[in-house]
Symmetry: D2
Subunit: 252 residues, 4 copies
């Protein structure tokens, strides 16, 4: 029986600032990546989000990012591998502290934003992240862009890796995402996006912007819950997957 | 054989900013309280300080404080017990993440600055701190001001508590520290300070500012390493204690 | 002809985090208090909010607060008068920099949250705020709680002061607000709130919770724009004031 | 009569963290670039540093940087021109607020660290900085690397520009600094550094690492005051310049 993981970034509120509809999206996903207080999230939000993920039986992951709250961790920064090792370890530790009291286990780590993108193409940053995770707990799974250096670094460290694919992004012939600077980077039609997901999950292939069909490893689909449209899409996607006999299920 | 713990706040540097002479003071103490990135410290400093404490065989504790870097965690803040629970848990988790990879154990927690002072007199904050520690790891010891609400809250949670006394502060007849706003709050003479410590350790009593001798629980002496004078005092104190047959030794 | 000022706190978004419906409330108010990047706001938001206030012809004020983003500046902190002087001056300067390029003038300063509340009752903090404003630009008006130490300190510095009253809060016989810890602190009925405002503006009196009618100086009404209900109330209040022949108008 | 400006970055302390020997270096320089609270400095430090610069008759400049305290503003960040415009304007405004009360004038702006380096080679960031300055006060001078895009952008905005050269850095045949990644990037011999400065000031030329003599615009020498060695060098440099009949003098 085919299974697929649906993961979503959660716990991104901060103090009086609210982002996302965490409780609305949780019933529809299998894995939550929870912000750890650097690019988003605060200790109170982290605690509440862990509790909420537990309530819906969703796997709990750390979602570490750059210490750039005003930029939401989306701005690339000239960091060293050592900087990255330390900031990932710090954030995993901080989030894991909220798992113990609620008697749940931290299952995975997915880097956020600019850190995710930089680690996808930079071997030394990818290796630093993988090493931080392996040193903290070698049972943790590492989420990364399918086909990226991050996935390779995780495998080299002996970690369980989770190749992430995107429903609404187009792919280049070399398997990378079409950069957002290009006009055809995003799939705006929901049905086309769902069709792309079904092909990725069932065939482990994707049709590139040039029309070729190439292999792609699809362990988890990244979905969003920060607006009504995104929530609707998650429900539709879940329905389409289920209809095809595919079970939504966390990696572990 | 009598033993006593000497503890010191370490790892207070931040980025390009250096505070303290951590490597100079480490050979003379038995327990280090390491800042966790809120009032002082950063992920890199935390990692390095854990490594340094390990090198000198010094017990490693988390030193959580308020998220007030510019005030160094010394300014009282109107926080709720829930705020305190979450920020203590977060910081303990963050520091503990650096212990695992260096194969050392986190042994204790000592709140910092305004958080320490507020928890000494406020039962609900003290209880929040004790609960955060017990929920994270009930084997951790809790440091607090001798005779304070924090020590009481730790005991109520079933934690090992460590009653802290001060070499250079005078005591009131009720066992509390003379407030710094009063002229006789600080003992400036090193010999008098050492004499006070010896009495506290050997007799478990202290002479108050009114001349009375009262009982005091002295499990650990708080020392400083942030200037030459402080370093000299630690060496002198260590020498005086050893001469009296008292062993400097961490709680566990 | 009677006039009254309606003021609202704006520019409270931060990076990816949005708070408030600034453009919806601006057509209905006469003065905007713009957050300055410490408790809320960031340089981009400040620039945009100044531009928006200009578009609607609304008077622009600085809204300095404590450097406590996660607490939204609402938590009292043990600050010195010197701390307050420096942080108010810094924030006024920062906001004023965005006025020059848009060819608008900074007209007033209203402290935020815990700083506002502490300065209402603490003469030395009130004096520090008034002195910072007077040193920056003695033409700036100072907003404070009607009857507070802050208003007194502003007057003592020779500043134009603006006594602020609240539509939906009840008053004690001594003219102070009923603390929010008490059950009758807030007026939940819109009509009763509007009635209270009309009496304050027309008679410069207010009926206290014990039924007495006492004098109150009402130069400006504080309104909110952060939810639909608040927006509706501002429109209703504006309509009621206009119907009574009272003009909504900034202080200068 | 020949004159030259000696500028130094000051006011880099933060809360309990001290960096630099501001009062020791001030008697020897003509211009101070004061940190504005983003990469270093805080409102109290800014106020004190302005006062100190006034005491020694040193010209006061704003030294804006990235909001990256832990990285001391030295890490390149993927910022937009609009981000840079807003953060420069904010920081100039904040510093200028401390000039007014001490009755001194802000005379110049010098971007810090990664912002300085990025603006040296990126026209759109350089233009954003120049425009922020011109919009705030067109009388302010703009400091930049001699021959850089930042100097060109300042000139295009009609600003007075100040071309900065370095005593202890070597130059490439195209007039750029030898990157620090290369072994011969830094001149370690004090006499050689002083000789280079004298040539730059007197001849407006510099000998490159390949032995050629090329023209260079030298309006100001960047010096440091953060350690004993640097302080000694400033004194020696000042002495050598004075001996050659060159007057140390701010730009205005």
């Amino acid at each position: 029986m085919k299974t697929i993981d649906l993961n979503c970034d959660l716990g991104e509120s901060f103090g009086a600032y609210k982002i996302g509809n965490d409780e609305q999206v949780l019933p529809h996903i299998s894995s939550a990546n929870i912000a750890c207080g650097f690019h988003a999230g605060d200790p109170h939000v982290m605690n509440q989000t862990v509790l909420l993920a537990k309530k819906y039986g969703v796997a709990i992951g750390a979602h570490p990012g750059f210490q750039d709250l005003v930029g939401f961790g989306r701005r690339a920064m000239a960091v060293s591998a050592s900087d990255v090792y330390d900031l990932v370890l710090y954030q995993i530790g901080a989030l894991s502290a909220f798992c113990q009291p609620h008697d749940v286990k931290l299952t995975h780590v997915k880097p956020h934003g600019a850190l995710y993108n930089m680690a996808a193409v930079d071997t030394s940053l990818a290796e630093a992240i993988a090493r931080a995770i392996a040193n903290f707990d070698p049972e943790l799974a590492l989420y990364g862009l399918a086909g990226s250096k991050l996935i390779a670094a995780g495998a080299a460290q002996g970690l369980k890796t989770v190749s992430e694919v995107f429903a609404d992004r187009t792919y280049q012939p070399d398997g990378t995402l079409t950069p957002r600077t290009q006009p055809n980077a995003v799939i705006h039609d929901s049905n086309a996006a769902i069709k792309q997901v079904l092909q990725m999950v069932k065939e482990q292939t994707v049709q590139t912007i040039t029309g070729e069909v190439i292999p792609i490893k699809a362990d988890s689909i990244c979905v969003h819950g920060d607006n009504i449209h995104a929530l609707e899409f998650v429900k539709d996607l879940r329905h389409a997957l289920t209809k095809e006999g595919i079970t939504i299920k966390a990696i572990r």
